[in-house]
Symmetry: C3
Subunit: 469 residues, 3 copies
Amino acid sequence: MSLLHPDRLFPAEPAQRAIARRLFAEVEHLPIVSPHGHTDPAWFASNQPFDNPAALLIQPDHYVFRMLYSQGVPLHSIGLAGQGETEPVATPEAVWQTFAEHYHLFRGTPTDLWMRHVFGEVFGIEEPLTAASAARYYATIDTALRTEAFRPRVLYERFNIDWLATTEAPNDDLRHHAALQADPWPGRVITTFRPDPVLDPEFEGFDDNLATLGELTGEDTQSWTGYLAALENRRAYFRAHGATATDHGHPTAATADLSPAEAQRLFERVRRGEVSAADAELFRAQMLTEMARMSVHDGMVMQLHPGSFRNHNANIFSRYGRDKGADIPVRTSYVQALKPLLDRFGNRSDFTLILFTLDESTYSRELSPLAGHYPCLRLGPAWWFHDSPQGMMRFREQATETAGFYNTVGFNDDTRAFLSIPARHDVARRVDCTFLARLVAEHRLLEDEAAELAVDLAGNLARQAYKLS
Amino acid sequence: MSLLHPDRLFPAEPAQRAIARRLFAEVEHLPIVSPHGHTDPAWFASNQPFDNPAALLIQPDHYVFRMLYSQGVPLHSIGLAGQGETEPVATPEAVWQTFAEHYHLFRGTPTDLWMRHVFGEVFGIEEPLTAASAARYYATIDTALRTEAFRPRVLYERFNIDWLATTEAPNDDLRHHAALQADPWPGRVITTFRPDPVLDPEFEGFDDNLATLGELTGEDTQSWTGYLAALENRRAYFRAHGATATDHGHPTAATADLSPAEAQRLFERVRRGEVSAADAELFRAQMLTEMARMSVHDGMVMQLHPGSFRNHNANIFSRYGRDKGADIPVRTSYVQALKPLLDRFGNRSDFTLILFTLDESTYSRELSPLAGHYPCLRLGPAWWFHDSPQGMMRFREQATETAGFYNTVGFNDDTRAFLSIPARHDVARRVDCTFLARLVAEHRLLEDEAAELAVDLAGNLARQAYKLS
Amino acid sequence: MSLLHPDRLFPAEPAQRAIARRLFAEVEHLPIVSPHGHTDPAWFASNQPFDNPAALLIQPDHYVFRMLYSQGVPLHSIGLAGQGETEPVATPEAVWQTFAEHYHLFRGTPTDLWMRHVFGEVFGIEEPLTAASAARYYATIDTALRTEAFRPRVLYERFNIDWLATTEAPNDDLRHHAALQADPWPGRVITTFRPDPVLDPEFEGFDDNLATLGELTGEDTQSWTGYLAALENRRAYFRAHGATATDHGHPTAATADLSPAEAQRLFERVRRGEVSAADAELFRAQMLTEMARMSVHDGMVMQLHPGSFRNHNANIFSRYGRDKGADIPVRTSYVQALKPLLDRFGNRSDFTLILFTLDESTYSRELSPLAGHYPCLRLGPAWWFHDSPQGMMRFREQATETAGFYNTVGFNDDTRAFLSIPARHDVARRVDCTFLARLVAEHRLLEDEAAELAVDLAGNLARQAYKLS
């Protein structure tokens, strides 16, 4: 029996399922546009074989290890090394066995859908993953990874990827993107400018980051004007390496529009390192508006991903560092928060700000009314914990009636799990077709309109919004 | 092909669809009760032909131009004149063409449902609206509007309207309602008392509004007691012109119950024009409780519509004024906010306060538990951005299990788009029948109970709650 | 015609209904595990007949009288005596008649489902409850209650209850649980430690409660260390009477982790009775962390039920007291609130904290991400106003994709309405089977996985989480 049913995620009701199938047939084989993600550009620059199955599929996937950890599996058993950890880090084979033994935990989660797609479609496995089949799984995957067919560039082509954006820190040298630009390989792997480490005074190593920023750009990042010039410089550097977008992962959506003199005084307080929590927040807020100003000039699309309380688990953070499944969403507000930025740039059609949220209560209350009015605003897809069938459906159900489809930007896979990219786009396309099929079946939309929308949602809207062409 | 499918909005699953059809047959042709809306009473008083298609269907509809504007269509292209606007305002024909060329933006929105109903049912058009058909559409509608059959009173009767409430400012002279009262035409067009301009110190022209209020009533609106007397006077004036209800569009649901001395001192601060934001909020809060007190005496039903951040777009507001699609909902709280008012009047069955929200997270958390306990409270229907199929469904799904059906008040069309009134009630009745059909199909409700409920939701509950008889 | 359809609450679509039926067949007759509720242990200790139908089914059910009251039925008509009430309290027969005359108010609410189950399954009634049938209903139920078959212990056995937890105040002598322990009757009725009256400085009679606590334990509850020792003493006393869990009904989820010196100073302020609202909140917050600390030592499972604004209706509270249907949910936050407690104990697998909410917006935003990471956390079922078909479905839809099924703990009936316990578990099992059937029909889950989950959700997860074995 296959691990994947061809009608998965389609509605059970036969009339709607038939419509969903027809719509999906229009988009199933379209190329993948991935305008926001976290794959490693070194993979494509070097085209070296991937490491072992655990290192590829388990250890970089915070969805996986957060669930295992929540049920008492210690992180060393998942192969993560922590400061002060006395237990030995598990071998890749043992990590895989642990994963398999706990695989039932993922029932009903998108991880199960993605993993079954990777196992079934990418590796051609047909038996379910269980404690008993774990070793066979490991061997099959490990063997495959050593073959030419599983080199990163071959998979990129097999996955039919049209664009793949990675995300880099502002001081990254982008050597891999430079190498890719110089390489005859036609794959389009571009970077994204993610300046949080030099915009957020509370980011780890902020002072050092600004020093490095100064060195890289030859600007005096001790002065407000030099700091701004350095940022413009790095934006240009990123654009030269393919970037069309910036990304901002601030704790809140707060923006500010201080006078130049106020902004300069704030910067000076920040530079002296005496920054209060309120000043740090105000500085991030001001810098979002500065980024918008620069985007108006240089054309970079701006993405805002607010509302995650990062590193909530103090113990895990101190021992294992960032991105260990302990980021927790918090209530997030947009209406007052974005007003300063929108008052300056909100009415421009030549500027695009894509909004994301982890607070679903804002879909219908704030984000859709905002995006359904301001020319600069677009809504990003259901994000992170909501990148799931029900999560995507809630996004469409709660956003469409006010924002329509055309104020949304298609799908982001947002992943570092390269092998799951086809799975994630497959889920998104199926959910969109299911949503559209319902509208058709309830005579709210004609089927030819739905077919056009399915194609737009599967790639065109992302190309337009992210200026990929 | 017709623009409207007879089964639109019904569930696709055949058993539920059959039930929904049967329920809808019971309510499809019932008269329309419209207890809250924004049509112009002059239409019915004068019975003059409507203006051109753009002026009637596009320009007064903020749902339409907010969507067009969000996708970069400038407001002058939609026929709106703005201060400092250098581009010529488009002709009605050009406005219509622009609308048609962007009509795909409305896919999946209630605007599409309403418009297709207006085109198909009111004007008998059968072809879809496209760039190519736009001129034919314009001609058809424009021609129809010049005929007797499209005079306001004829349409009122054709639409089978039983009651139609408009909304007027407190200093309005109500001349049109007076004319209608003196007219033998049997249509029931009544007013609603909307005193925000004289209750909210932050309302544009508040001081002038109070001066006018004083002149109209012969009361000294410089004194607290005179101000209260003037409000009582205007309430009586509105009641004499048919009003059964008041309506309050405050930024929040805050209420207060100050001592008379405190209230008087607050009023004096407000009158001196030195009002802080906190005082303005407290004054509005106190005035809601004063309005409740007056309602207990004069029997007027009170409606509270909080939670809209009005005129969010500073640039649009300064150039085009209010109501230009730039009002954005914000998080709204009711539980602590309403307590002062409820502590005084909450246990009365002879007082009715109808609550609305733009913050859907309050349906199940706050509004239904409140309305399912306090005798004075009822829940208004899904409002504004949520006046849509999914929005209405969320309201029923999230409100019914705690508040039941009988603590709700049926439908409000809340519109100034007169020709869409039948469309909006049609959508509401279909969604309610769909919701009820599901309960019947899942054996949570008997079909005869559902049929009784469908009729109550289609009109009886509105008549009772708004005292229309 | 039966009052209950065998397919009630199953999806209408035939393929999903067939799956739901098969899944439900696996769980329909499983024993009931009720790890959290409010039945009276005296019933089982004394095994005396229940009182009349109104006293058993109407008066203790706040869902019932809040709905009646909301529609203008005075509390004396429902048989409740209030201070200063001049109207005579209605007789049981009159209460029943009033209930029947207003029974249509419950359409679409879980009360209707529960009541029909009690009437149809427990009492074998087949006619609907109406004004006309009310007297027959009363007679049938009243007669039944006088028979041996309706003694509490017989019903406990007939209902196939495996475990039944009651909830007692910390100073309760637990005499009924002691009697049950000494009794050969094999029913398992255990207590739960609910210390709010001695942890919350704003609880009615807090000072007296602490004095009593001191007397009962022989500890000096005037001192911080004595107070803590007294709490440990009572926890041990409750454990000796079967308790495996504590329960905490705080206004918010705030926790704190003060130094011992700070905690002691705070306690001294509290003991002097000069407690500010902020100090009261901080004290409750600190005490949650102290309770967690004690749980780590003594193994008691901790339940947190925050977010209810108790006794919102001042008039009803002063005349009728607590628990009169006037508790209203408020917005509730968990992420920052729980951090102090989680920083200390969050990474322990030998400690369990079960979180509940009345603020559904936290399911996907806060609770599932937290429970999907911290080993100590589990999610309680949809609570109180959300203990309803749509409410449970929203919980599964919003929690499962991030927290999975295994970070949830099955069902709580949470009721003092003993006769409705089978009804409530029946509803929960049906809704879970409906949710699972959809996942199977949409090929997100295999049917054998769903069957295993149905059984786990129906009892195993509760047994594990609450340590019932």
